[in-house]
């Protein structure tokens, strides 16, 4: 009897302890958030919500892949690399291992921001001239720069991540093998780029559906990419830069008239350096220095705009757009006069991002009319300039952050797919100037000037905003508009991202027309015309202006908000 009683007590204590152990961890966890479903109208502003971590990317499968990595205990860098690989499978037309990019990382435990530059380089044997009279690079193989994305992702993974290459490629392999339904965005871009894909990848490529573009709802699978990623996961990135894949890349490029050597791939190394810093009102901005122009010009624009009462003028108002556009015209002249690869030229970065220089520009801008002449710069949009590239934002539960912008340049890059590899090669060489006297002139091993501007913004020394965007030379203009929408116009994150955008520049001292999304009020457009601006109306939500992704950290509410651009297929996954 005593034994039975003792056993009963023992069992009861054991059950109690077990129950407590089971219940306790849950009671310690933050309350799960009830997240409303995204609205059926994809353009309606919607903030994704999280408390511990979040990934925002241009495809829902990629964002979810990154989130799963966070949930499995991976840090922000692990999740960023997972998402980047997953984007190669789910949004293959905008980024991937055939391209390159830039990332900015915040390491919470060290309170340090660092930049990893993995921009592509020109091959060593690049000819002096590759552009024809129409500004096109022919043959297409000459448009391929040395792919560098894999080197950049893996550099950051090894240095700051905690997971293996096998871990971070699993989801991408699964997506590539199982496939997914093609979206309206994918289908439309696939149709737009049909000629290039047909010419360079052929009728049998997985990037076409039995020789024709994919329709929305079609299943897109890429088993060859899955095999390539498995090979890289098992043999390491040397397989890509020195092994069988390297040989396939060189063969594919050179068969299409390019000049790439195995040595070009073997020599590629990403570089890490300190970020560029700017101050806007009470906020500190960290972004990337050259060879991207995005960071320099974003700070320059904010420095200029800080001098104007934009809040008083109001969003979408004609004075705001007029002044912003005039600033852009000065900035673009500077872009073509000073910016290029800092390994080869001296760039007056500090002068360009100084408040003093901003004031000089402000003093020249007229309040109600255009200037007769702007500083001389040769920049001009090319006929085939388009929205492209992709951006990823990640924050983990420890507060580590990554803001990554990467690209294969134009949608579907060159359309060249190395034999049986399933990935597209970039056409980043288009980012060089066709003017041999330009600071951005092409040359062996040079990195072409980019417009990317991944950023992390701090408010009182705490991370506040993570942001970045695709969109070619519109990137830094779009990012600046989003920052002003949030800080000056008090918009919520996604409201700021979805808000109508505009863009302009100057070329050879003359103002070019303002491109506006069609949602701007008629009255604003009329006033701008009366000021002397010529206007080009674009689609209501035009991916020409990019597809920005952002994360806003609300310290006081212990909330993380994600904003994903509906101009593309942006999605946020938080927990």
């Amino acid at each position: 009897m005593r034994k039975k009683k003792a056993l009963f007590i023992k069992n009861a204590i054991f059950s109690l302890i077990t129950s407590l152990l089971l219940v306790f961890p849950f009671s310690c966890r933050p309350r799960e958030i009830e997240i409303p479903e995204p609205p059926s109208d994809r353009h309606q502003p919607y903030n994704f919500v999280g408390r511990r971590g979040m990934v925002v990317a241009a495809h829902h499968l990629a964002a979810k892949a990154g989130l799963e990595m966070l949930k499995k205990g991976g840090n922000a860098i692990d999740a960023m690399v997972t998402t980047a690989f997953a984007l190669n499978a789910s949004e293959p037309f905008a980024s991937g291992i055939g391209g390159g990019g830039f990332m900015i990382i915040y390491l919470a435990s060290e309170n340090r921001v660092t930049v990893v530059d993995f921009r592509e380089k020109a091959p060593s044997r690049v000819p002096r001239e590759i552009f024809n009279d129409e500004g096109r690079i022919k043959p297409d193989g000459l448009a391929v720069a040395v792919p560098s994305a894999l080197a950049g992702w893996v550099y950051s993974l090894k240095k700051y991540g905690t997971k293996s290459l096998t871990d971070v490629t699993q989801e991408a392999i699964r997506i590539a093998e199982n496939g997914f339904e093609v979206s309206q965005t994918f289908s439309r871009i696939n149709k737009d780029q049909y000629e290039k894909i047909l010419t360079n990848a052929g009728e049998g490529t997985c990037y076409l559906n039995k020789g024709f573009p994919y329709e929305p709802g079609d299943l897109f699978r890429n088993p060859e990419l899955a095999s390539t990623l498995k090979l890289i996961a098992s043999k390491g990135i040397d397989e890509f830069y020195k092994g069988e894949i390297a040989q396939k890349v060189v063969k594919a490029v050179n068969e299409k008239g390019g000049v790439m050597d195995l040595k070009d791939l073997a020599l590629y190394k990403p570089v890490e350096h300190p970020p560029l810093k700017g101050i806007y009102k009470d906020y500190t901005l960290f972004t990337i220095p050259p060879p991207s122009s995005g960071g320099v010009h974003m700070i320059q624009l904010l420095n200029i705009i800080e001098n104007w009462p934009v809040r008083k003028w109001g969003r979408n108002s004609s004075p705001y757009i007029h002044h912003f556009c005039e600033a852009l015209r000065f900035v673009f002249a500077d872009r073509s006069r000073y910016l290029g690869d800092p390994d080869f030229i001296k760039i007056p970065v500090e002068e360009l991002i100084s408040k003093k220089y901003a004031k000089q520009i402000v003093s020249q801008i007229k309040p109600n009319s255009l200037l007769d002449v702007y500083p001389f710069g040769r920049f001009d949009e090319r006929k085939n300039d388009q929205g492209n590239t992709s951006h990823v934002c990640v924050i983990d539960k420890k507060g580590n952050i990554v803001s990554l912008t990467h690209s294969i340049n134009h949608f579907f890059g060159t359309g060249i797919v190395p034999e049986n590899t399933g990935f597209l090669l970039n056409n980043i060489m288009y980012d060089f100037s066709d003017d041999p006297s330009s600071p951005n002139a092409l040359g062996p091993y040079r990195r072409p000037l980019s417009s990317m501007g991944p950023l992390i913004m701090f408010k009182k020394d705490k991370p506040f905003l993570i942001l970045g965007s695709p969109g070619g030379t519109r990137i830094f203009s779009s990012l600046t508009q989003i920052i002003i929408n949030i800080i000056d116009f008090n918009m919520s994150l996604d409201e700021a991202i979805e808000a109508p955008r505009f863009f302009t520049y100057s070329s050879e001292g003359k103002a070019r027309s303002i491109s506006l999304e069609s949602r701007f009020p008629e009255k604003t457009i009329e006033t701008l015309k009366n000021m002397g601006h010529s206007i080009r109306i674009r689609e209501a939500f035009d991916k020409y202006f990019g597809g920005s992704q952002g994360i806003l950290i609300l310290e006081d509410k212990k909330l993380i908000l994600g904003g994903a651009d509906s101009r593309r297929d942006g999605y946020g996954a938080g927990y």
Binding site: R188, K191, Y194, G211, F212, K383, N384, Q386
Partner: protein, 187 residues
């Protein structure tokens, strides 16, 4: 008796209309002859899809993005791929006015030479909008037949024009499905 005959006649006519309306429009007998010239109205990317389809259908075709009346030598059919692409127009150095002028001249010459027009709309919903609709309204009425991807005709815009101008219309689900009706349309 007369009333019964009249009623029977009306019934017969109604029966024919009910049973054979599609057949009347979607005539399976060949309407066109080869060789054919493929061009677009609007410099869209679908012109290349038309070319791939023609190749797969074993048709003797020639593609010209900026075809002019000079290209009509020895041509027996024009295949006009409808839909405006701002990117395509820009790349070709054309605007809508110039593009409409080019296609107008081509059709005028084709009419003189009694070369029939087959219109395709392959871009679906994405290749609709003010510019595309302007071109469709301008040129589809000249067609003898139209083959369109269904999603581009959700609002009945293309079928409305076809009905009004008595143009045989074939709707297909996907671009690849154009192959059969295209093949059947040629001798």
């Amino acid at each position: 008796m007369k009333k019964i005959t009249l009623a029977a006649l009306i019934l017969l006519v109604l029966l024919i209309l009910v049973i054979f309306p599609q057949e009347r429009k979607e005539s399976s007998s060949p309407l066109f002859e080869q060789p054919l010239l493929i061009t677009s109205a609007g410099q869209n990317a679908e012109i290349l899809m038309a070319s791939v389809l023609a190749k797969r259908a074993g048709l003797d075709s020639k593609l010209s993005k900026i075809a002019t009346p000079k290209d009509l030598v020895n041509i027996k059919t024009i295949v006009l791929v409808l839909g405006a692409s701002s990117k395509g127009l820009g790349a070709a150095g054309l605007d809508m006015t110039k593009e409409k002028e080019r296609v107008n001249l081509l059709i005028e010459e084709a009419q003189k030479k009694t070369v029939p027009l087959l219109c395709l709309h392959l871009g679906g919903e994405a290749r609709r909008g003010p510019l595309s609709d302007e071109l469709i309204s301008a040129f589809l009425p000249f067609a003898k037949m139209a083959i369109v991807v269904k999603s581009g005709n959700k609002d009945g815009f293309l079928s409305g024009i076809c009905e009004k101008h008595d143009i045989a219309l074939v709707e297909v689900e996907k671009t690849a499905d154009v192959l059969t009706p295209l093949k059947d349309a040629f001798k």
